[in-house]
């Protein structure tokens, strides 16, 4: 698989640009000078051993973490300064489902619909899209890991993001769930970045692979 082009720091409105991205937690650098450039519609796998910085990279791109140093831009919006403009463009599936267990699936998506300013009538089709139509009124606390993951996918797609960030999205999914995920990821017109330990599963979807080792892009 080819590597995505290494960055020219002069920013342009490509889907994602990272130049010399550093993110520290105290003295430890989780990302230590990451350079990336992703065009619109690219599908990039981020691989590497545990602790390589994959999740941190996705959290920085999701605008949840501030970069300590370097340049990061999403669709030409430099982070963190222009994060408010970038956030509506980003859908983020994290390790956890980012939903409230005490609320129903429908209520959780209603909440996120309000936060993203999208019409509430998108919620039911979103649940249907991920095969949860019949479980919309059930509390998320009773969901299996796979169902919670489907709900997370519905939440991330609710506002029709141009950039989809997924952190280990296959974890906990059964074969039907994986088929659904593959179907969703195959939809054109979106830039996708997936952190995974299963790169082989994404064969046919991914256009590039970035391997992180100790917070750096491995050669």
């Amino acid at each position: 698989m080819p590597s995505p082009s290494v960055v020219d720091p002069a920013s342009d409105p490509e889907a994602v640009v990272c130049a010399g991205l550093v993110r520290r937690f105290g003295e430890r650098a989780a990302l230590d000078g990451v350079d990336l450039r992703l065009g619109r519609g690219d599908f990039v796998l981020v691989t590497g051993p545990n602790g390589a910085g994959k999740t941190t990279l996705l959290r920085v791109l999701a605008t949840v973490l501030r970069p300590t140093a370097g340049l990061v831009a999403v669709s030409g919006h430099e982070l963190p300064r222009a994060a408010p403009a970038a956030r509506p463009l980003i859908g983020y599936v994290a390790h956890g489902p980012l939903t409230y267990p005490g609320l129903t699936a429908h209520e959780n998506l209603d909440l996120y619909a309000a936060l993203y300013g999208v019409p509430a009538d998108r919620v039911s089709p979103a649940l249907e899209r991920v095969g949860l139509r019949g479980r919309g009124r059930d509390p998320v606390a009773g969901f299996s890991r796979g169902m919670a993951q489907r709900l997370a996918l519905a939440r991330a797609l609710l506002h029709r993001p141009a950039l989809l960030l997924l952190d280990e999205p296959t974890a906990g999914l059964d074969s039907d769930g994986r088929a659904l995920l593959r179907e969703v990821l195959a939809e054109p017109g979106r830039t996708v970045i997936v952190s995974t330990h299963e790169p082989a599963w994404f064969e046919g979807l991914a256009t590039a692979e970035v391997r992180l080792v100790s917070g750096r892009v491995a050669a």
Binding site: V64, R87, L111, L115
Partner: protein, 227 residues
Amino acid sequence: MSRRAFAALVRKDLLLELRGSEVVLAMAAFVVAAFVLFRFGLGGGRPAGGTRAATGMLWVAIVFTAMLGLLRTFAQEREHGIWDGLLAAPIDRSLIWLARACSTCLFLIAVQIVALPAFWLFFLQTGPAPDYGVLVAAVVLADIGIAALGSLVAGLASAGRAREVLLPVLFLPFAIPLVLGAVSATTGTISPQTSGLHTAERLGYLALYDTVFVLFGWGLFEFVVED
């Protein structure tokens, strides 16, 4: 500010509380238990310090009760890793604080619907009737201050490891001026010696405190939740 997002955040807190009853019932039980302890500890009836001592006990009990609730503030977000979902949303992060302060204030008011009659029953039933209008104003103003300060501090403490220790250490010192104002204002509603001007000044003081901490909360929360 997105009113829809704000309403959705408050609704979420109320729904979770209605279903889980995590906070309000525990707070109500705690405050009544505190009054019972005060009553028996003081040998029954009105305390020797008079109305002011009684209202002092009321507000100390309410502040500690509020702290019990604040320990659960943002607990779901922390325990279930939901922070990332809220922080990635395209809303002003201060809106998260404002919504939480509003729901905390509503929880406090719900608790006081139980706590105030219990307080009167235990300590003041032989005294003069309070000025109910001023009493409600004083209580609501004090609740706004507790909720504004408490939600800010709870957000800060939720990022730390020693949350249970950090929260009271940060919250109580800043709550001292609020307790002083609330005690004075509440005493003014009961004590016949207190002039109307004095009560108005105390309500104004509480309103000023609220203004300061609402502005602090709105302005600082973005930095407080920054990882």
